[in-house]
């Protein structure tokens, strides 16, 4: 299986020159294509820091991250932004849609940044909206959508560039149980049908239950890495 993400001895120290806070303490892991992985752990354990580093939003103090074989530390800022645009889809806790754009335009914006033609981006935006069950809501602005619907648009936006993987930071934190189940079903469906890699940071047991791999962090260290698929494969082995 092709490795999408490889993290090697990632360390992150905040305030290194004053009172150092070790957010990550030399953790290593890899993610294969098609995984549906949850990174879990108590608040302050380093989940968001890890996601920021994997997403190329932040730099590790030490260690190396490679995405599909590309070392992120070798990329200058503009290249890194372009890399994020093409390879990484983001879903944030607070939906983070552009408030002045409609659902369709929010999705199309990503493709416009990639230089995709108008018709192609509109067609794909409509396709993605259908995929997340929001057909008919394309001309609604975020304020006209419920929280769950906004997060589904955010998922569609994350998928717009056909990224190598999607990073979702506490995607269900602001959703009720119905919206959470709905969103998880959609993401799981996309993962199953398209083989899109998803990595979540979450506290939410419902997300953990849906995940096929759960990486548990505590105090900046991986304390367990439970891959249900691999384990099952091991169990099935004669």
């Amino acid at each position: 299986m092709m490795k999408v993400i490889e993290a090697h001895k990632i360390t992150k120290v905040y305030n290194a020159d004053k009172v150092p806070v070790n957010a990550l303490r030399g953790i290593s892991f890899s993610v294969d294509r098609g995984e549906f992985t949850a990174i879990v752990g108590p608040s302050g354990c380093g989940k968001s820091t890890l996601l920021n580093i994997v997403g190329g939003l932040d730099n590790p103090t030490k260690g190396k991250i490679t995405i599909e074989g590309n070392d992120l530390s070798n990329l200058k800022e503009n290249k890194l932004i372009d890399f994020r645009l093409d390879k990484i889809g983001f879903v944030f806790q607070s939906y983070n849609l552009i408030p002045v754009l409609t659902a369709r335009e929010n999705i199309a914006l990503i493709m416009e940044l990639q230089g995709v033609g108008k018709r192609a981006r509109n067609d794909r935006a409509m396709y993605l909206l259908r995929a997340v069950g929001l057909e008919g809501k394309e001309d609604k602005r975020p304020t006209e959508l419920s929280g769950g619907q906004q997060q589904r648009v955010a998922v569609a936006r994350a998928l717009a560039s056909e990224p190598a993987f999607i990073l979702a930071d506490e995607p269900t934190a602001n959703l009720d149980s119905v919206a959470t189940d709905n969103l998880l079903d959609i993401m799981a469906g996309i993962n199953k049908e398209k083989g899109t890699t998803f990595i979540f940071s979450t506290h939410d047991q419902r997300v953990i239950d849906k995940a096929r791999r759960v990486i548990r962090l505590e105090d900046g260290l991986i304390v367990s890495d439970n891959n249900l698929v691999t384990n099952k494969a091991h169990e099935d082995r004669p």
């Binding site: 939003l57 372009d82 002045v100 335009e105």
Partner: protein, 405 residues
């Protein structure tokens, strides 16, 4: 989509946008108003002095302006007069005698400025007839005089009374005469009201004993912005040894200085206004940039290059700035036009202060397009310079911190 995004961003907070637009518009309005009032008032000061006294240019016998004596008078050769009248730049040539005499009525006497004029030509330049508040205007061959209102009040004379004049004539002769008051004038220049006495040119020449002589020849011109060109043109037609040509700027350096001084203080006030306006606008821009830190962070995170985000921010500022400037001009011009045609006449203490300085107590407003264009450009530049702040803010943005915010 960027323009659409910029346009919608502008209107996402209508109240803030309206405040920004209005602050830019009022900046244009106030700056234009100040400049319009300044230039309008200067133009009026110049017009009052030039149109009512010196003319835009004058020809004298060489040395007259240094020593304003009747002995420095001259008789204009016919060929020079024809050449001047043939010039396309000159509308009228206005001959005058200017000197001083003692004017007496009953028990009272006062030194007065005695001006001999061609009634018709003088009226073409100075519209003197319009200033008449009592009696009749001068006639070419008449022998009555007209007198300033202030002087008339001082001497307590009415139209029909006879004044005795005594002074020094040409080459030291005595000048003595009795003239009936044909009319009383009131001019915007207080000094003229208190001192001026006008006689028909022929009568003044007779009074001073200087037949066919004049002291100066005022020129009424087509285009007062090209006086230097006119001066050269006239200079080429007359002998430099015998005559001097002077523009109003050379004849009234005090007025030029007064305007320059006022202009300098006006500019300082204008700069202070720009700073106040600038800070007001900066407050709004600062708020806009800070409010959107989170959104900027998200856009960079999902793949928008900072350069694009900066352009987007600049586009918003450009749209806002142009909108504000256009709005400002749209109400500045009509208001200034109304004020131009309906100047504000000062009364009370303000008016007295103006009169003390020999200035007509009126606020005139210029509607020269240059004013609106200049102020619009300056405010636009200020807005665009302030628009650099969001650009710098985006440049310094820490994506992770912005998303956390």
């Amino acid at each position: 989509m960027y323009l659409k995004l910029a346009w919608r961003n502008i209107w996402r907070n209508k109240r803030r946008t309206i405040i920004t637009l209005m602050s830019i518009a009022f900046a244009v309005f106030f700056a234009s108003l100040m400049q319009s009032m300044q230039l309008g008032t200067y133009a009026n000061m110049i017009s009052n002095s030039v149109r009512f006294y010196t003319g835009y240019a004058q020809i004298h016998k060489t040395g007259y302006w240094e020593e304003r004596s009747l002995d420095n008078s001259f008789s204009l050769p016919e060929n020079v007069e024809k050449a001047l009248m043939a010039s396309e730049s000159i509308v009228t040539i206005v001959p005058r005698i200017e000197s001083f005499s003692l004017v007496s009525f009953g028990e009272k006497a006062k030194g007065a400025m005695l001006i001999g004029i061609d009634p018709f030509k003088e009226n073409e330049l100075t519209s003197l007839k319009e200033k008449l508040v009592q009696g009749q205007y001068l006639t070419e061959n008449g022998n009555s005089l007209i007198i300033g209102k202030g002087l008339a009040e001082y001497l307590n004379v009415q139209v029909g009374d006879t004044l005795a004049l005594i002074g020094q004539g040409y080459r030291g002769m005595n000048a003595v005469g009795k003239y009936g008051v044909g009319g009383i004038i009131e001019t915007p220049i207080a000094a003229f009201n208190d001192q001026a006495v006008y006689l028909p040119l022929a009568e003044a020449q007779y009074y001073f004993g200087m037949e066919n002589q004049i002291t100066n020849l005022a020129l009424n011109v087509n285009d007062f912005t090209k006086l230097d060109k006119l001066k050269n043109e006239v200079g080429s037609q007359i002998s430099h040894n015998d005559y001097e040509v002077m523009t109003w700027r050379e004849m009234m350096p005090e007025l030029v200085q007064q305007i320059e001084l006022d202009d300098a203080s006006g500019k300082i006030i204008l700069y202070v206004l720009y700073v106040i306006i600038g800070f007001g606008m900066f407050g709004t821009i600062l708020m806009m940039a800070r409010e959107r830190t989170y959104e900027f962070g998200i856009l960079v995170a999902i793949g928008m290059r900072r350069r694009r985000l900066k352009l987007l921010s600049m586009a918003e500022m450009i749209i806002l700035s142009f909108g504000g400037v256009a709005l400002g001009m749209s109400f500045s011009f009509p208001i200034m036009t109304v004020l131009h045609y309906n100047p504000i006449y000062l009364t009370g203490e303000f008016a007295e202060v103006y009169k003390k300085f020999g200035i007509e107590p009126v606020l005139n407003f210029s509607i020269s397009p240059v004013i609106f264009f200049d102020q619009a450009v300056i405010i636009l530049v200020i807005s665009l310079l302030l628009g650099i702040y969001p650009v710098l803010h985006i440049g310094r943005l820490n994506t992770v911190e912005a998303i956390r915010s």
